[in-house]
């Protein structure tokens, strides 16, 4: 394998990592604050993809703008879903079976809504930008992937800033660290939970819209990404955005470089194989290892 090939693959992996990060960060945030494993994340990503698709097909809105519009739209949608369904779940410190099943059921409903409106044919968004390639010497980068990468990174950095600077961000982090103490200091856990769920959904929709530019999609879109998001979360630990970024990078690298050794048909199974290997070696995920280093106790 030549240096140029290696560099090409490396760049492809990094670009992929950006997308994977923005896809997983929504699930992470919801889990951290509410201890709910959001299986409907896949459904929200699917709706995000169709959102961008409809805007593109009907109003000729550039999908990037469509993705940006998805953020507030899905934020509101997420808050509505929380108000309607999620807040009725029994609260707990640990993830409960009821929340898992409820989110799963909601995912089924979203899938069916997808089938009802758009049928089960694959759709895709095709713009003149889709095929453009940037060439820097021997290295070629798909322009679309580069743009999507920057959009993703921007989003994730914005989230990190919001978490560290804004009042809501601090309230969220307080709830993640210790929900009881947070409530004692005056954090309204239900309101923050609603905002968090909205935020997580917004990111899911945004990620879905971005992915719609890269891949074709159908209402079943989302399941392989859900598994990947989960692998990333296990890899990176559930508590931080930087953990997610790390996990996303590892998964993207493994997936991209595995093309050299594994036949293409087995590709979807790679992420799971990685998960098993990581679980056998680090039962608490790599994030757990890092956590022990940072915290003195």
């Amino acid at each position: 394998m030549t240096a140029v090939d290696f560099l090409n693959l490396l760049i492809a992996a990094v670009l992929l990592a950006g997308i994977y990060a923005v896809m997983s960060v929504g699930m992470t945030v919801i889990y951290g604050v509410m201890k709910i494993v959001n299986l409907a994340h896949a459904g929200f990503m699917m709706l995000g993809a169709y959102f961008a698709y409809e805007l593109f097909e009907r109003f000729h809105v550039d999908p990037l703008i469509g993705a940006t519009l998805a953020l507030p739209a899905f934020f509101l949608f997420g808050m509505a879903v929380h108000w309607l369904l999620i807040r009725r779940l029994p609260k707990s410190d640990q993830p409960t079976l009821s929340s898992l099943l409820l989110m799963f059921a909601f995912w089924l409903v979203l899938q069916n809504v997808g089938y009802l409106f758009w049928g089960n044919m694959d759709r895709s968004i095709f713009t003149p930008r889709t095929l453009k390639v940037l060439t820097l010497g021997p290295i070629s980068i798909s322009l679309l992937r580069l743009i999507v990468f920057f959009a993703a990174v921007l989003c994730v950095c914005a989230l990190q800033l919001a978490l560290s600077r804004s009042w809501y961000g601090r309230a969220m982090r307080a709830l993640i660290q210790n929900p009881y103490a947070a409530q004692i200091t005056g954090v309204d856990d239900e309101r923050i939970a609603r905002i968090t769920f909205g935020l997580g959904t917004a990111f899911a929709g945004f990620a879905g819209a971005l992915l719609a530019m890269l891949y074709s999609f159908s209402p079943d879109f989302g399941r392989p990404f859900l598994i990947r998001a989960f692998v990333i979360i296990v890899l990176g630990g559930l508590e931080s955005v930087s953990g997610v970024a790390f996990g996303a990078l590892v998964l993207a690298l493994v997936e991209t470089f595995s093309i050299l050794y594994v036949p293409a048909g087995y590709q979807p199974a790679i992420s799971f194989g990685l998960l098993v290997v990581v679980l056998l070696v680090f039962p608490r995920g790599i994030g757990g290892l890092l956590e022990r280093k940072w915290r003195p106790a």
Partner: protein
């Protein structure tokens, strides 16, 4: 004052068994027999899942992997000339072996992490089976037929495995092992503190559940005569297997059986008319169950019986809480 009606459940069950045994002799249409057969297969899978998910509390979203492995194992063995009954045993063995391979890494995870990991397993195996042309790949595998298709043969095979699953569930429920599993479901760490080895118990119940599901898959393969990865390893198969006990009443035997019956009838009748709406129905039903009646249909029936001032417990007032699965507030 509640009336205790005595333990009507064994009599009721025996009555149903008798009826079901004699049904083919009543001259029902082949379609009805077919639906009943499918119900038996699903009852088996449902009871199997209930052992792991309801009694032991480990929710798996990937049981299709055992169903599919059982189906393929039986198909390959029948094609090689092995007696079908023996090949079903082979299905059970293959599925149980797979359950150990799957369980050893994934049982380190708790609750929802385990659940999602099982999705990954099932999907990975489906992808792999899609690519192995030796077993047919994406094109599937045909089972060579042995003479004329005798529907009643398959009917009784299905009934046999359903009865087997009920017996295994009863045995587990009344054994010390079942008690250990319940303890693990309620609080794994506390169970470990009292001397139970959760890892080993989980592996064993996983194997039992996988074996039963594998046999169900094998019996189905023999009947269907053609299987393919998109069908037996599909995520929707895992979903169906999961939904049946949850809708019926997670943790209870009646619930698993009732749920399987309801889901099969809904699927058979509805899918023909509205092809895609069953996802919506399942989703809505599941949401209603989680939010309103976590004990499923059985829980609903219990509530109704209680309203009519009949004591629904099977063993008398002091043991009213025994053997009930609880969904709400259960921490994984």
């Amino acid at each position: 004052m509640k009336r205790f009606v005595g333990n009507f459940q064994p009599l009721f069950a025996a009555g149903i068994l008798l009826v079901v045994l004699l049904l083919p002799l009543l001259g029902l249409t082949p379609n009805v027999i077919r639906i009943l057969f499918i119900t038996f297969v699903w009852i088996t899978a449902s009871l199997a899942w209930n052992l792991l998910g309801g009694v032991a509390g480990q929710v798996s979203f990937g049981f299709a992997v055992f169903y599919g492995l059982g189906a393929y194992a039986a198909a390959l063995m029948i094609n090689a000339g092995v007696n079908p009954a023996l090949s079903f045993v082979g299905s059970a063995a293959v599925a149980a072996l797979a359950s150990f391979l799957i369980g050893i890494p994934t049982f380190r995870l708790r609750g929802p992490y385990f659940a999602i990991a099982t999705i990954g397993v099932s999907e990975a195996v489906r992808v792999v089976m899609n690519n192995i042309s030796a077993v047919g790949g994406a094109g599937g595998l045909r089972v060579t037929e042995r003479g004329i298709f005798r529907q009643t043969e398959h009917y009784y095979a299905g009934l046999a495995i359903a009865v087997l699953a009920v017996c295994v569930s009863l045995l587990v429920e009344r054994s010390k092992f079942g008690l250990a599993l319940r303890a693990i479901r309620q609080d794994e760490d506390a169970a470990a503190d009292v001397g139970i080895n959760p890892f080993r118990c989980k592996l064993w119940i996983h194997a039992i559940a996988a074996a039963l599901t594998g046999v169900a898959g094998g019996v189905f393969a023999d009947y269907a005569a053609y299987i393919h990865p998109q069908g037996v390893f599909a995520f929707s198969t895992s979903v169906t297997i999961l939904l049946m006990p949850v809708i019926g009443g997670i943790g209870t035997i009646w619930g698993a059986v009732l749920g399987a019956a309801v889901v099969t009838i809904v699927e058979e009748q509805l899918v023909a008319v509205f092809p895609q709406v069953h996802l919506l129905l399942y989703g809505l039903l599941l949401m209603l169950i989680v939010l309103l009646e976590p004990d499923g249909l059985v829980g609903l029936l219990r509530r109704i019986l209680r309203r009519m001032h009949v004591d629904p417990s099977s063993r008398g007032p002091d043991k009213a809480l025994w053997g009930r699965g609880r969904l709400e507030g259960r921490e994984l």
